[in-house]
């Protein structure tokens, strides 16, 4: 049998900003076709994990492999939805321009965008119901619409592994349902999705697997095994755990107390 490397393999990953550790010793293997929710309190390092996987942030130790390769070699197989606040929405580009950026990985740095690229971009906008807005400047969109533009751009990347940082932030219920359907559809087609999510109550129905994160990997596995009071308590549970002591030392106690409440 031929060994097929998993979409994502992380080994003993440690990341810090200015010597302040944010993630330590994360070890995880995500299998193909998984729909994984990443949950944890604010400042748990969820965005940092995504950014490290993508090579945006350099780790201090450990490694990440994507389909068995270092990130650089697997660039075109990864689609990315950043946190909405991470870009400047006054930037002079239209909705279509943004979605076309998702095609650049395929088009190469110099080749012009082809008719096919435009058609794919247009179809992706259709899938998130944003086709009628394709000529709008991105700043004239509502928060939920902006989120859907990002989603369309990720779809246009036609990747095998998707990394999404809070795609549900600031969207209304209808959009949320539409996005969930989209995620399920991608999963059916054998894609792997890793989605940072904030709302624990809906995480249970949206995802198949859960990654509980709070500076360390608390747990990773099937929903039934990970969505337990014990593990959730360990992830969010304030000062009762050993974790929070470490967190308290690193991040300052007051910050942790304010932000450490689970939304249940």
């Amino acid at each position: 049998m031929v060994h097929i490397p998993p979409p994502l393999e992380i080994h003993d990953l440690t990341v810090s900003y200015d010597r302040k550790p944010v993630l330590y010793g994360v070890d995880v293997v995500v299998e193909a076709g998984s729909l994984v929710g990443v949950v944890g309190p604010n400042g748990a390092g969820k965005s940092t994990l995504i950014k490290t996987i993508m090579g945006i942030v350099q780790p201090n130790g450990g490694w990440v492999k994507i389909f068995g390769q270092p990130y650089r070699k697997a660039v075109t197989r990864v689609g990315y939805v950043p946190q909405r606040e991470s870009v400047d929405w006054d930037f002079p580009v239209s909705v279509m321009d943004v979605v076309l950026m998702g095609r650049y990985g395929h088009a190469g740095l110099m080749r012009r965008v082809s008719k096919r690229d435009r058609r794919i971009a247009s179809e992706c906008l259709e899938k998130v119901n944003m086709q009628p807005f394709s000529d709008r400047q991105i700043g004239n969109l509502s928060g939920g619409q902006q989120q859907r533009v990002f989603l369309a751009r990720a779809l246009a990347q036609e990747s095998d592994l998707y990394l999404m940082d809070e795609p549900f932030a600031g969207v209304d219920a209808a959009t949320e349902t539409a996005i969930v359907e989209l995620l399920r559809d991608l999963k059916e087609r054998g894609k792997t999705l890793i989605v940072v999510h904030h709302d624990l109550s809906s995480a249970r129905e949206y995802f198949d697997k859960l990654m509980l994160l709070n500076m360390r990997l608390v747990a990773y596995g099937e929903m039934e095994e990970t969505f337990t009071p014990d593990l959730l308590q360990k992830t969010y549970g304030g000062r009762l755990t050993i974790l929070s002591d470490v967190a308290g030392q690193a991040a300052g106690r007051s910050e942790f107390e304010e932000e450490g409440n689970p939304k249940l």
Binding site: D18, K51, M54, G55, I56, R72, V75, V78, Y80, P82, S86, V87, D88, F91, P92, V93, S94, D97, V98, M101, G102, Y104, G105, L109, M110, N129, P132, F133, Q137, S142, G144, Q145, R153, D172, A174, T175, A178
Partner: protein, 327 residues
């Protein structure tokens, strides 16, 4: 001080005579102004879109020590040496700003302030120690001498006289900027808009940033002797923000640079003829006036289009596409 601020306006002496009796020098000054605005406007669009307008200001000031050191080493106003000195100073400025911002608690705007004032001061010190008696006077560095450009030595290439050297250099830099933007358009676009996506596409984000800063430094140094380091900042920022009241996409903003440059250059030249004042100053005043016009009447976010009383016609047509339904 002269008696009246506004001399009597005489159409003939302001608009006709300069072209009639002194065509060559008029043409050269206007062309120089056009090249300056063109080069600065093209690079400036990316500077503004990346919210680096202050960094542009910082680089323009910290070129002083770069130029001064180049001057000390070569003891002449050799252009290649000055360009290299300026490029080094430009990169040093950005590296220092980022270093201070990343490795300390100092906020980016404060880091910019620290770096450029220090470098500028180093330039002032160098000039006052070693270059006191040579011609690199502060007024020229600060405000430029675009009116004197026609008097500079000619650029001779293969026996053909291509006009004064500063114009040839500025034209070459403008052409270089335009070519760079055309060739690296996508990389510039994506790294400016979303560095995360750019990295995820394997684009060289940091290299692009420093490349842009080098191009910015070269543009500023080629432009500074015409308009000075202070006014050059205006030329970086005005075209982008003025066109922004008319267009919402980067390519359109970039194309808007050419007509605006022509307007700044011609408008500034004739305003200066009328008021008998600094041409570079008059160019910036023209740019400022055009900005105000755009701010009032521009269809994208201009005040008139925003105000309810006058704007109902325009908003009525806009509202047709506004309602959104999510499926």
């Amino acid at each position: 001080m002269r008696e009246e601020f506004f001399p009597t306006f005489d159409y003939g002496s302001v608009f006709v005579d300069p072209w009639w009796s002194g065509f060559e020098s008029t043409f050269q000054v206007v062309l120089m102004g056009f090249f300056v605005c063109l080069a600065c406007g093209v690079i400036g669009n990316f500077v503004v879109a990346r919210r680096l307008a202050l960094v542009g200001d910082a680089i323009s000031h910290s070129l002083l020590p770069g130029i001064a050191i180049a001057f000390v080493f070569t003891s002449s106003r050799s252009l290649p040496a000055m360009l290299i000195g300026a490029a080094v100073a430009g990169v040093l400025t950005t590296v220092l700003i980022e270093l201070i911002h990343r490795k300390s608690r100092v906020k980016p705007d404060a880091a910019i302030g620290i770096v450029f004032t220090t470098l500028f001061a180093v330039g002032v010190v160098i000039i006052s120690i070693w270059l006191d008696n040579v011609h690199l006077d502060a007024d020229c560095v600060l405000y430029g001498e675009i009116g004197l450009v026609p008097l500079r030595e000619s650029f001779i290439l293969g026996g053909a006289n291509l006009g004064p050297l500063p114009i040839a250099t500025m034209g070459a830099v403008a052409l270089l900027d335009i070519l760079l933007v055309i060739v690296f358009y996508r990389v510039l676009l994506v790294t400016s808009f979303d560095a995360g996506l750019a990295r995820s596409l394997g684009m060289p984000v940091n290299t692009t940033h420093y490349g842009l800063m080098i191009a910015l430094a070269l543009t500023i140094v080629a432009a500074f002797e015409a308009v000075g380091v202070v006014l050059v900042v205006a030329m970086l920022i005005f075209p982008a923000v003025t066109a922004g009241f008319f267009f919402e996409r980067l390519p359109a903003l970039l194309f808007g640079v050419a007509p605006l440059s022509l307007a700044y250059s011609l408008g500034g030249f004739h305003l200066a003829k009328w008021l008998d004042c600094s041409i570079a100053g008059a160019m910036v005043v023209t740019a400022g006036a055009l900005f105000v016009v755009a701010w009032f009447f521009g269809p994208k976010g201009g005040l008139v289009y925003r105000s309810r009383a006058l704007g109902f016609l325009f908003t009525a047509s806009k509202q047709k596409i506004s309602p959104q339904i999510v499926g």
